[in-house]
Amino acid sequence: MIDLNDEQLMQLVKAGDLDKMSLLFKRHCRSLYGFLYHMTHDRVASEDMVQNVFYRMLKYRSSYVGTGTFQTWMFHIARNVLKDNGKRRHPVPWSDKMEGLAENLTDGNTADQQLEKKHDQQQLYRAVELLKVQDREILTLSKFQELKYHQIAQILNISEGSVKVRVHRALNELKNIYQKNKLL
């Protein structure tokens, strides 16, 4: 049963085999959490939203038509949940945002190198945060979720060409903000 792909599992859920949803959760909760975390920089809210996305998929399982991939559908719902959540969410303190960053600096360089890298990443982190929501979203989907351009195009409901242009533009914007902050 593990060999079934996402779309087949979702079709089974739609047919009433609700337990299959836990398999889908296992497969996708991390990547979904990653997406939501990069969009909000809030661990607790991201976890809540992951639960919310999967709950909505259960509740509205009959609306799953299976024309696109399961992942596309999931990110569609995630974007809606994000929008709903955005209306209510309070800004997260800076210290909370930095929390996730420190965990990633564990390679075995010297203390100075690590400090420098940490500083660079803090600058980059600030730059990412200063991006427009649309730019941050497209970079998150292409870089952190490693989705193909045609998948992103389906999620955002735009053409593949537009995705390429937007990714390039977002990257340029990020570079500009990052370099400006570095000089300060």
Partner: protein, 243 residues
């Protein structure tokens, strides 16, 4: 030069792209899966309860009807009763609607009466403007009764103001389908002295094709002081009417 810049941009973008690797998201908490499992179990239970309830209801109904024919009868009687009650209440609503319509027509009637009273009383007002206003009110009336018509005819014959008499003539033309109005208009012809009213009167008679007006119009022609233009107009009207 441009190609060099583009190449440099590309390299810088790649550096940024690589640097982004360091911003991998943190791991979610360990109990996230457990929490979802709890949500899923709860959801399944709710769904199951819903399904069970519907199944039980269906089972109860089928059992009731398959073993007890009198239950079928009772259900039929129940349906008929509900239909009768619904039908009766709908009928009541129709009655209420009819009452509303009656009330509305009563109200419209009262407004019409008020308007009539206003016309009659305003026509006795010494101000010509007020009398003009009164005549204009008759334009909003659907039909005129004998009292209004008599008042209007009196105004047409007696009012000292030419404008009021002209407007009154127009107002009476509106009710010309009523025989007493036509008769009153014909009788009024010889009483008019203003050339303007005489011409208007001749026009109206022609429009109404009122042959009874030929005699009074001829009588008008007998007046020596009759305006030359009016005389031609009346002669023309008589010729048209007697054809």
């Amino acid at each position: 030069m441009n190609g060099e810049k583009a190449h440099k941009d590309e390299l810088e973008n790649r550096d940024i792209w690589d640097l982004l690797d360091g911003l991998k998201s943190p791991e979610p908490s360990a109990d996230m899966e457990m929490r979802f499992q709890g949500t899923l179990d709860h959801y399944k239970q709710t769904e199951q309860e819903k399904r069970n309830y519907l199944q039980q209801l269906w089972l109860a109904l089928t059992t009731l009807f398959s073993f007890r024919p009198q239950a079928q009868l009772a259900y039929s009687v129940f349906l008929v009763t509900v239909s009768v009650v619904v039908g009766y209440s709908l009928n009541q609503n129709t009655t209420v609607e009819t009452n509303d319509n009656e009330r509305l027509s009563l109200l419209a009637n009262q407004v019409e009466q008020m308007r009539k009273l206003m016309v009659v009383s305003l026509l006795e007002n010494p101000s010509a403007t007020e009398r003009l206003r009164a005549v204009n009110y008759t334009g909003e009336m659907k039909a005129a009764d004998r009292q209004v018509i008599n008042t209007l005819l009196l105004t047409l014959n007696e009012d000292p103001n030419v404008n009021v008499r002209l407007v009154t003539l127009d107002a009476l033309a509106k009710f010309s389908s009523q025989p007493e109005v036509r008769a009153g208009l014909v009788n009024s012809i010889t009483r008019q002295e203003s050339p303007l009213v005489q011409v208007a009167m001749a026009n109206l008679m022609l429009k109404l094709q009122e042959k009874a007006s030929v005699a009074p119009l001829k009588k008008l022609l007998e007046q020596e002081a009759l305006n030359h233009a009016v005389r031609s107009k009346i002669e023309f009207t008589i010729n048209e009417l007697i054809i």
